[in-house]
């Protein structure tokens, strides 16, 4: 007597795993999110075969967007080959028949945990970011009802106050990843824990970005050509991580966001975080015909 004997072989009960009702709700909320950029839209957040906290929000958005002609790329901290990224990618492919890819240029949907790829994304591509905590005001206002009222009133005084006090007490703004940003001049969002390096890529982008939190049951969006402005004082400019001069030890490329690998002798080695970019650079160096797309950062500096 085995489980296989007692049960039928597994098959998705509906296309893309989520049922039609779930997808309908998510689509509605996604349209609403596009209509009010940066504003958090609550949604039911259905069960998926993954625990909360592992990207269920991003997954639900991807499953709603996917169709048989989609090409899906999934990364985790920039890497396509991490266990979780690989599992999600294979799952999406299995339940939708979509193709998988590691190449940003080839993808139609890019689901990511905590990084935005270095190659510029196009208007036919959608970026789906996984968000642990969607509420930028959580640190200043733990009561969610009051926080919602603050968003409605565009009352971000307390948030600015926190930034002011960081400068007073520590001399600089301490926010590393998830830098609160003003979207379309109206709502402040957390761009998810992407590094400061990545936030400017969302500003006036050609592509559409969704940000979705499965555990917290909220999603929000940045439509194409929409302003995303990190909250900074006019006389304390926005600074990105100091990676412009770092060199990837495996591919030799430089001027991109790097992962830091502490060495036994106390120094650090660096590898480019967008691993597929690194792979393409190595292949290109070895003479293979690979296409490396234009990148947002050139010579370590953000262009456009």
């Amino acid at each position: 007597m085995s489980l296989a004997a007692l049960t039928r072989p597994w098959a998705a009960t509906s296309y893309g795993f989520l049922d039609a009702s779930a997808k309908r709700e998510i689509r509605r909320k996604m349209i609403k999110a596009i209509a009010v950029p940066g504003c958090q839209m609550p949604y039911a957040s259905r069960e998926v075969p993954m625990a909360r906290g592992w990207g269920t929000g991003g997954l639900q958005v991807t499953l709603t967007l996917v169709n048989p002609r989609s090409v899906v790329k999934v990364i985790d901290q920039g890497a396509d080959d991490g266990v979780n990224a690989a599992s999600i990618r294979r799952f999406v492919s299995r339940v939708s028949g979509a193709a998988e890819t590691w190449d940003t240029l080839a993808a139609t949907i890019v689901q990511s945990r905590h990084r935005v790829p270095e190659e510029v994304m196009r208007e036919d591509q959608v970026l789906v970011l996984q968000v642990p905590n969607p509420e930028p005001l959580r640190g200043v206002e733990p009561n969610i009802s009051i926080a919602r009222q603050m968003h409605a009133d565009a009352d971000y005084g307390k948030l600015w106050l926190t930034l002011y006090e960081q400068i007073v007490r520590k001399g600089r703004i301490m926010q590393g990843a998830a830098y609160p940003s003003l979207v379309n001049g109206r709502h402040v969002m957390t761009p998810s824990p992407i590094p400061r390096w990545d936030v400017p890529k969302l500003h006036m982008a050609r592509h559409l970005t969704f940000l979705s939190a499965g555990r917290e049951k909220r999603l929000f969006a940045v439509p194409p050509h929409t302003r995303v402005e990190p909250l900074v004082f006019s006389d304390r400019p926005y600074l990105v991580e100091d990676h412009a001069d770092l060199v990837c030890r495996r591919s030799g490329i430089s001027g991109y966001f790097m992962n830091e690998l502490p060495q036994d002798d106390g120094t650090s080695a660096f590898e480019v975080s967008d691993s597929n970019l690194g792979i393409k650079a190595i292949r290109h160096a070895e003479g293979e015909p690979v296409e490396i797309g234009a990148t947002w950062y050139r010579n370590g500096e953000m262009s456009q």
Binding site: D153, D155, G157, K158, L161, Y164, E165, R169, F233, D235
Partner: protein
Amino acid sequence: MSLELPLPHDLLAPPQLMRTEPLLTMRSISRRFGDVEALRDVDVTVYPGEVLGIVGESGSGKSTLLRMMNLEDTPDSGEYTLRLPGREDNNLFALDRYQRRMLCARHIGIVYQNPHLGLLMNHSSSGNVAERLLIAGERSFDVLRARAREALDASEFPLARMDARPAELSGGMQQRVQLAKAIALEPALLLLDEPTTGLDVSVQALVLDTLKRLQRDRRITMVLVSHDLGVIRTMADRVMVMRRGRVVEQGLADQVFQDPQHAYTQQLVHAKL
């Protein structure tokens, strides 16, 4: 003990020499909370640069009235206008939530009796003042710091402690932070609700000193509510006496204190220990 005849004050002529329009006008304000008539047909006029003292015992409605001036509450009937640059004289009670907030933030400063109402106790004192400026759209860190410092200095708050949190400060200092916060944007109107009540007497005197000096230097229009006649006497140019939701008497401060007309006012004025 009510006076049936009109008070001599009611027979006074309308302003004839004063060419400036009033800054604040409230007409026929009435407010009921269940069975209790908190305010009944109250009129208020305040001219630019003057200090109006509103005196009354608890239940007089004075605090309710002040809250309405701050647009925190709306009456059952009545109108409220402020003559502000760039505004038409429309009834402020008809503004929507956002307009009300913006107007209050920009043009009205308030000091509450309880500093917990007016301050963020766990942020820095300078931050409390800066928040006001941030809400009004100031985005330069250096300017925020400089103006916060200026406002705290004008409130005679020791600058060495400008980043201390109000939770760590004494009552008098907390009121000074409230004051700094209230004047930071140079509002047209400053409202004070029992600003020194509850403080030690010596501290009260110091805070009143500061208020008086500020008023003298900046000619801020103030409405000061207190049950303490001494405070009103020190600060006010004109006085309104309230009792059970009605204005029983009003006039020049020296006249109301030296020649009170209404029986209730006489009682109040003569009841000094």
